[in-house]
């Protein structure tokens, strides 16, 4: 089988345009023509700065919002326009999101054990040894079941709630996990533990992980594949080691230049102004006449010109 057939999830030309206003509508292209794949047992990091559209990509994959254009394939099946409640539920059963702000993922009026009860009732009503499974998954994410289950979400810290979401993914044995900036809620001492855990689970259980982050060092450490997002465009994608070692797009190059490194200091004699990147990127698109993506080396693609957004007005 080719690489492509093994992908558990495939996004093709995924586009999301937000509109605001009633008479004079204003349009914001949050994600433009993003195509990528997620593989079982692999971590794919989606790297971008604030406003690049990385969270929107995550929400599109989770089917929390509908794309303006483009398609999403799950296990080879087109799930972009599914309306049927049961099919939708079947998809939600297979995917789990862990968010930057985990507080909004839980019903504040329910204790944690009730949240798990609902989970089983909704998805796995046949399960007998619920308590055992719950304890087991909580212990896997380093949470003490006795201390957690009888609490309300507000009595737990952000890091604990995020780990609960990972435990939920473990319980349901999901196929895809979308982790959106999860380190922001974790302090330095627990951060690496949770991240290592995430990757171990991904490898052991063959789960596909989309790791959304702005931290390039962390992206390198955790991921097999990397997607670089700039202003809604997926400017570079491929194997992590290739993208990092041989960045091709001017935006990616600038991004890597800004990473602080304890082995080497920045070259302060070189002028570095973040605003100049927009010009540099425009110049790059103008000065090459190639279209779409170019495969600069095996499994390493670079956007050579912006892909036309479909007419949405």
């Amino acid at each position: 089988m080719s690489e492509e057939n093994k992908a558990i999830l495939k996004a093709e030309g995924l586009t999301k345009i937000f509109s605001s206003g009633i008479i004079n509508k204003e349009y914001t292209v949050a994600v433009n023509n993003a195509s990528f794949e997620l593989y079982p047992g692999k971590v794919t990091s989606l790297v971008g700065e604030s406003g690049s559209g990385k969270t929107t990509v995550g929400r599109l994959i989770l089917k929390l919002i509908e794309p303006t254009a483009g398609k999403i394939f799950f296990k080879g099946q087109d799930i972009t326009d599914i309306e049927d409640r049961d099919t939708k539920k079947e998809y939600y059963r297979q995917i789990q999101g862990v968010f930057q702000d985990p507080f909004s993922s839980f019903n504040p009026l329910f204790k944690i054990n009730r949240i798990f009860d609902i989970l089983f009732r909704e998805f796995e009503p046949e399960t007998k040894n619920r308590e055992e499974l719950i304890s087991q998954s909580l212990e896997e994410v380093n949470l003490n079941p006795d201390r957690i289950l009888d609490k309300y979400p507000h009595q737990l810290s952000g890091g604990q709630l995020q780990r609960l979401l990972i435990a939920r993914a473990l319980l349901l044995d999901v196929d895809i996990l979308v982790a959106d900036e999860i380190i922001s809620m974790l302090d330095a001492s627990t951060k690496m533990g949770v991240l290592n855990l995430l990757v171990d689970i991904c490898r052991d259980k063959g789960m596909a992980v989309l790791f959304i982050t702005h931290d390039l060092n962390l992206g390198y450490y955790l991921s097999d594949d990397t997607l670089i997002l700039h202003e809604g465009n997926l400017v570079e994608r491929g194997a992590t080691t290739k993208v990092y070692e041989n960045p091709y797009h001017p935006y990616t190059q600038m991004l890597f230049d800004s990473v602080p490194d304890i082995e080497e200091k920045w070259d302060r004699s070189k002028e570095f102004i973040p605003e100049q990147i927009i010009e540099a990127v425009e110049e790059f698109y103008q000065n090459n006449d190639e279209e779409g993506y170019k495969e600069v080396e095996e499994n390493h693609f670079v956007l050579m010109s912006i892909l036309e957004t479909e007419n949405y007005k």
Binding site: S50, Y220, Y221, L255, S258, P260, F272
Partner: protein, 331 residues
């Protein structure tokens, strides 16, 4: 650099606690260090180690934070003994701060220009044409156009706001500026710009010296001349930036550096572990080294508080076993 160099700030056995209902939170508990003229001193540590408290104890002691003992001599004047009014006179001119959440501090209804004028008036300067011309040159230095003066804060990006804040804090050419987590809310590209800018302001002589506080050691290393590592309200290690990063002696510094993810290390080849355990509760702290519960080199001696040792490279360490820790460097 010679030992005779001029000192801008000398902190001697400083203790500043938060007086709260359940007791004293010993956030700064016996710190000793100096800031030399023209240097950038980096301060690094986990959240809750007292690094921001250190900044506030130097700038403005507000309840429940209280000065317990010790001195902080800024150009010969003990900041701890000054009245609020006397301290206000030093602010902006002798000592200034770029606060952590400064980006939200702008009034949304005031133009940046009005904000700057109000600010300097408070510090007894007239915002005349000459002064505004100086402001404009400063805008050029931070690579912002003059039109920013007529804009409202919400029209600026995070990186631009941070530059405006830095510009305002350094407007009266302070001898010492304290930069508290100035990069934590910014994007990677802005982080590099803002960090470099701090060093540029020092190089141009606009600010005398700086204390750069952050949790991000890799960013700190880019511009700091010396680095002070703090742990649980105390100094763990202080020395030249290169020495701290490439030849750390304190077990905590070593653990901190080893837990940094960096390009070149992947999960599948090498496992970064972080530091096991959590920092101690600062309300209820006993005698002894504060890192001992998380330290792999712990010995019996560690139940007594270690003294500050000075090695010949003017490198200060607070650890009983730093010599044996240093010797297995090439593990």
């Amino acid at each position: 650099m010679a030992d005779t160099e001029e000192t801008v700030l000398e902190v001697k056995d400083l203790k500043a606690y938060y007086r709260v209902m359940k007791g004293d939170v010993k956030a700064v508990d016996g710190l000793n260090f100096t800031v030399r003229r023209g240097e950038i001193l980096g301060v690094v540590g986990e959240s809750g180690c007292g690094k921001s408290t250190l900044a506030y104890s130097l700038i403005s002691l507000n309840k429940p934070l209280q000065h317990i003992s010790g001195e902080a001599n800024l150009l010969g004047q003990d900041l701890m003994k000054l009245s609020r009014e006397e301290k206000r006179k030093l602010k902006m001119k002798n000592i200034s701060i770029i606060p952590q959440y400064a980006l939200d501090a702008f009034s949304p209804t005031k133009k940046i220009k009005t904000f700057i004028k109000d600010m300097v008036k408070q510090h007894g300067r007239r915002a005349d044409k000459e002064f505004m011309d100086k402001v404009k040159t400063r805008f050029e230095i931070v690579n912002l156009s003059h039109s920013v003066l007529d804009r409202y804060s919400m029209e600026l990006s995070g990186g631009m706001k941070q530059r405006v804040v830095m510009l305002i804090s350094s407007l009266l050419d302070p001898d010492l500026i304290i930069a508290d987590e100035i990069t934590s809310a910014l994007d990677v590209t802005s982080q590099r710009y803002v960090t470099t800018l701090l060093a540029d302001l020092r190089d141009e002589g606009i600010i005398g010296s700086a204390i750069f506080i952050t949790h991000d050691l890799a960013t700190l290393y880019q511009i700091a001349d010396r680095i002070m590592v703090m742990y649980a309200g105390r100094l763990a290690e202080l020395g030249n930036a290169d020495e701290i990063v490439h030849n750390p002696r304190h077990p905590y510094t070593r653990a901190l550096i080893n837990s940094l993810p960096r390009i070149g290390i992947q999960h599948k080849d090498e496992r970064l572990t972080g530091i096991k355990g959590t920092p101690p509760d600062l309300t209820d702290i006993e005698e002894g080294c504060r890192f001992r519960f998380r330290c792999q080199y712990r010995t019996e001696e560690c139940d007594k508080s270690p003294k500050m040792e000075k090695t010949h490279q003017r490198h200060y360490i607070r650890c009983w076993n730093y010599e044996s820790v240093g010797s297995d460097k090439n593990e």
